[in-house]
Amino acid sequence: MKVKLKRSLIILGMILLLSISLVYAQQNKFKLKPEAKGKLCLSCHEDFKEKLKNQFIHTPVKSGECSECHNPHTAGHGKLLDEDANKICSKCHEGIVPKDPKSTHKVVMEGNCVKCHDPHASNNKFVLLKEGNALCVECHKNIGNAVTKAKFKHNPVEKGCMNCHAPHASAKAKHLLKDDMVALCLSCHKPDRPAFEKQHMNYPVAKSDCSSCHNAHGSDKAGILFENVHQPVANKACTQCHESPSSSTPFNTKRAGYELCRGCHSSMLNDTFNKNRIHWPLVDKTGCLNCHEPHASKEKKLLLGNSKVLCGKCHSDTMELQGKLALKESQEKAATKGRVIKGSLTHNPIQEGSCEACHSPHASDSQLLLKQPSTIKLCETCHDWSKHTSHPMGEKVVDSRNKNVTMQCLSCHRSHGTGYRYMIPFPMVTDLCVQCHKQYKK
């Protein structure tokens, strides 16, 4: 029995010894002398001495553990890094992104930590490259400009983006918000205060989406409302559309769908209903709100977004195709090294997000809700086609492929693109021509 115990203790001791030596070997894999740590590197990298005078120093740098990140001899990655630059930080900084996040910061997900942090030292907390909002607006320039120019500022934004946003990821909300938007707003704004109630016309907005009216980054409109405000909201005439605030369902609208909007926008809707073809979502359950904000919007005409986003919500097939074609175009352009390739793959109005250049968003007498019955006239508004083709076109020129259609721009081109140059449906121009001019077909 005693012999067995002895053996067990010896084995246990050996395992312990082995573990310690392994851990030590791992910690000091280059077998550096204790006095050599860091100092050895600084003997060559003298400029680092200056860097180390910064207030905030990355822990491994501070403790002279340069080999935590760098291999002093050889490495498969730039700057003698021990790992891929996009992965090396996560070796120590695990858990930066919570499990099942609602939103993530793109640079974090790409492992591009050095976009915000200095890996060695800086005079800013968390070894950030710049202090406060200055760092964020480096990339988020539009927001930065808007915040600076805004006549009515939102205090927390002035004090720092991190008041509302999490820098890496958010487990709770979209847009990297630290919490659900309403909860976040209510942490400062108390809805039971008389001034708050008065501003909101006594409507119980405590659970409403604040961003349907307010621009959290500041605005030129009082109450930091979005730039474009629906007139009844501006007039504080909520009851024009909603039931009374004392009603049991105060947010219910007085009428459903487009019928509600018809009260004020009757002439627009009458014009719409007098057209032969309607954009059907306008008359569905959601009606005008399929495309428009009811309260306020940063877009003109109270649109939910620019056309690219808005139209793309339903017509994703068209937008996806354009996206692919734009990518193909840029790749082909890069491959040609400056040589000009004739003929576009994409159509500018779609790329610019102005679908309304060709289509009427509400209704039209023309098919596909085109703005004009004649596609020749429609294309002519941007393209002087007479300069690029002498091909007979017009109402009197019958398409030889189909006796019921006449020759027009779309007889050869497809305005949403095809994947081929000049947006024709064939890889070669001759393939297109011989569709009609069969005598030249080989």
């Binding site: 459903a256 032969n276 098919q367 189909n402 019921n404």
Partner: protein, 328 residues
Amino acid sequence: MQKWFRKSECWKVGILEHWAQCSNITLFHYSSLIVFVITILSFPLQSFSAETVKFRHVQSIYFDEKGGSLKQPEGIASNDKSTLIVGDTGNDRLIQYTFQGNIWKPGAEMKVTQLTNPIRVQMNSKGEVYALDGKKRRIIQLSPEGAFKNYIDADGMPAASTFVPKSFKLDPNNNIYILDIFGARVLLLNSEGKYQKQIPFPQGYGFFSDLSVDSKGSILLIDSIKAMVFSASKDSNSFSPLTKNLREHLYFPTTITADNRGIIYIIDENGGGVVILGRDGSFMGRQLTMGWNEGLLYYPSQMSINEKGEIFIADRGNSRIQIFTIVK
């Protein structure tokens, strides 16, 4: 698939040949074996071909009886009495065609003041014509001769103020199914146009453009945005997804039809094609493509299929009707 089977046959026959040489088998045995192997190999080929649906172009219709051109037709309906009704949308009229001497011949024009923009057309068992006016968003009923009879306003339906019909279909018993996009529901009316019941749209839908009723009475909805088919069996009061997102097979689906075997046909408007699904929603293939020549489609609209399996497509962008038969 067929090529693959042919390749397999060659490969297997090659092995048999080698085996026959080695084991001195008589020519009779060898032939019998080949026949046996081919029979075995052709078994799955036959079962596949039974599931394959291919379209063969038969005829294109361009004109009315006076030689006037069709203009952007969107509606079409056929029956088994050799009648075809075309919603000649761009000309604000309906035209009747009849099958005579192996071709479809134009007949009388149906033009009534109550109908300006026929975008969907149906016929009941008595030959009466129903059309949805896309401009007025009302369904009208016409006699077989084309005289105005009635508006189908779903008498007795709840929440009548929120009623916008986007499409409708008739079943063999002349019941009327209306896709009401404002009310977000499918309304079921009897043959007199009286309200029977309503089924709400499912949660989280995108936009329903069309509906159909199959031979078992199941209602099918096509969601253009989600590129999905939803279905409700005959006695059900709710819709559930029949398919997953079909975007890999189509661009923008707008109309749906089912034949008497339950095969589902979906018109891909932006892709100029027809996607075919089995009764269970399984993908069976895609037919036709975009273009101007006969047999090709350019922003097509409604489709109709009769008992004989003839397919009629309102080829809107090409201002014509195209007729196909199904090749098995």
